[in-house]
Symmetry: C2
């Protein structure tokens, strides 16, 4: 692939080709100033003929704005960050903004490196994202550009974090199980150390208490975020002998394991036991037998909102310090369907 390095056309080239001055080209192409329509047209045509594409760097140097934001992911890009990024891109693309993607993979050195790089490139703002399992250190209140923490909360209450709503989602899950007639409900979750587990357990308890019920087994069953744990939990519940007719699993993986485990033990879902998951992760939720009713954390909406807030901050708006939570929604599938009586 031979590439003769003809450098890109500049305003000067266009000016010459149209027989005007560079200043006029700028005005014509940006709709500024008072130009004869004929001139404007001529310049525009010249620009098209030469395939002119204005150098964004030069523009930014003047305007002080790059129309670019950085997205820095604390850990790797994964199942949770993707919808977030996609949602953010949605909102940013509408504002003609570009997106630098940086993956620090949990490495503080790399994170510092990326932050320096992004600042050197004069991004207009920053979205920090990553694992939601823990609170992350703040970049500091005096960081030179607006920062939105999305999905992973900043330790500083002065920052603006935008998060999913585990607690409300969990309440929703339990309420749905109750509405479909279940009374004896268990909660199978991930590691106790994860914030998400704690919040989901709290939400579940709240909703159960409101209905004057308590958790089967006396409390949340903690384990891994895995199908294997879901299967094991199913076994334990069955073996334990305590009657139960509903299980709220804190992830779709656990829920899928749960339905498999229950089926293996001869327990019918949804007729005998209703199962709800979390994530609305399609490969799990739709493929599970039966397909899973699940809590969708609306992460792409979260990304969209994060970007939208960042844009307002960039435009001089103020970010109210604290936490905004995006409500979760319930997606109904077969695993909680009520019997047709």
């Amino acid at each position: 692939m031979v590439r003769p390095d003809r450098r890109p056309t500049t305003v000067a080239d266009v000016a010459r080709h149209a027989g005007v001055s560079p200043g006029t080209v700028s005005k014509a192409l940006n709709g500024g100033g008072q130009l004869k329509t004929e001139t404007r047209q001529r310049v525009i045509r010249a620009a098209e003929e030469l395939g002119f594409s204005p150098n964004a760097l030069a523009r930014s140097l003047i305007s002080g704005r790059t129309y670019t934001v950085g997205i820095l992911t604390t850990d790797s890009i994964g199942r949770f960050t993707i919808p977030l990024i996609t949602g953010a891109e949605d909102a940013l693309g509408a504002g003609q903004m570009a997106m630098f993607l940086c993956e620090s993979r949990g490495d503080a050195i790399r994170e510092q490196h990326y932050l320096r790089m992004l600042l050197a490139r004069r991004v207009d703002g920053l979205i920090i994202t990553g694992k939601s399992s823990n609170i992350r250190p703040s970049l500091g209140h005096d960081f030179p550009i607006p920062v939105v923490y999305a999905l992973c909360q900043s330790e500083s209450a002065d920052d603006f974090s935008i998060l999913h709503d585990d607690e409300q989602g969990a309440e929703m899950a339990i309420d749905h199980l109750l509405e479909t007639g279940r009374r004896r409900i268990a909660h199978v979750s991930g590691p106790l150390s994860h914030l998400a587990s704690q919040h989901r357990a709290r939400g579940a308890s709240t909703a159960l208490a409101r209905a004057h019920e308590s958790m089967v087994g006396g409390g949340t069953m903690h384990g891994e975020w895995s199908e294997a744990w879901g299967r094991e939990a199913a076994l334990r519940l069955v073996r334990n002998g305590d009657p139960f007719d509903g299980v709220f699993c804190a992830s779709d993986e656990i829920a899928r394991g749960m339905t498999d485990g229950l089926r293996d033990s001869g327990v019918a879902v949804p007729s005998t036991v209703g199962v709800v998951g979390v994530d609305n992760w399609l490969v799990m939720a739709e493929t599970s037998r039966p397909p899973l009713t699940t809590i969708d954390l609306n992460l792409s909406e979260l990304g969209r909102r994060a970007a939208t807030w960042l844009l307002t901050a960039i435009d001089g708006g103020e970010l109210t310090a604290g936490i905004e939570r995006i409500p979760a929604t319930l997606v109904k599938r077969r695993s909680t369907e009520m019997e047709i009586s």
Copy 2:
């Protein structure tokens, strides 16, 4: 969050603070020119004290290089694009390059929009990626910057495409089944219309022919890339009555469905039938019962190579037109384990 918009420090600020001229600052900080060590130190200290971060835009305007590449995904960011992006970032990060991420989502208009934007921002090069199921249109031989097509092949033989190796991977899968003593092997795949299906079928046939065997069922069984199809295929194979002892599934989803389906029919995996998948998608492969032996397409290596090639091209190297294929590797797990005889 109040943000007094003090503009970033410039070389002029540093110069003043160090009592030298801007030119000297530049030399001191970039190791250029002949400077008294004392002066250099003084400038460096001044820069640190002021938290100076050189404006990359201004630099790029001069050098004509932005140390930035664009990654344009044809469809959405998904399971396949992530390792690719991560791999590319690996290679790019080492070269201090940043990455614009653009998701055109199969929309030609959006793609054009992004291309214009990336060119306006003067990226040094471009990686085009997306669904591997089809060949995509070329950006043209006269595109102003180097382009590498990764994962999705360009229709033009003049372009440089870097792809995974479906055919070699499939051969590897069949060879492994043969090595573990299977002779009557079936191949269950995705839609016939997908390039990947075609290539995998071809590789499977080649390897079988080499061993003087032919496919059980007389040919590839085409369906969806889904667990449901894997289960159904299992049923069909069992019902059909033709004896078989190995199944090469063209994806881990299909393979997982297959193991579930076989188990449901009372067929033991791996003792009676060996199963191989493709993708090494951990949530499928490791969670399957038994865990799946699978073909890893090494997509992060693909991303790394794509970026590496792009970097050489940016540095003036030539990209040999055509296709480079990254070899697949076999990951052994329980689903093909040989009996301990």
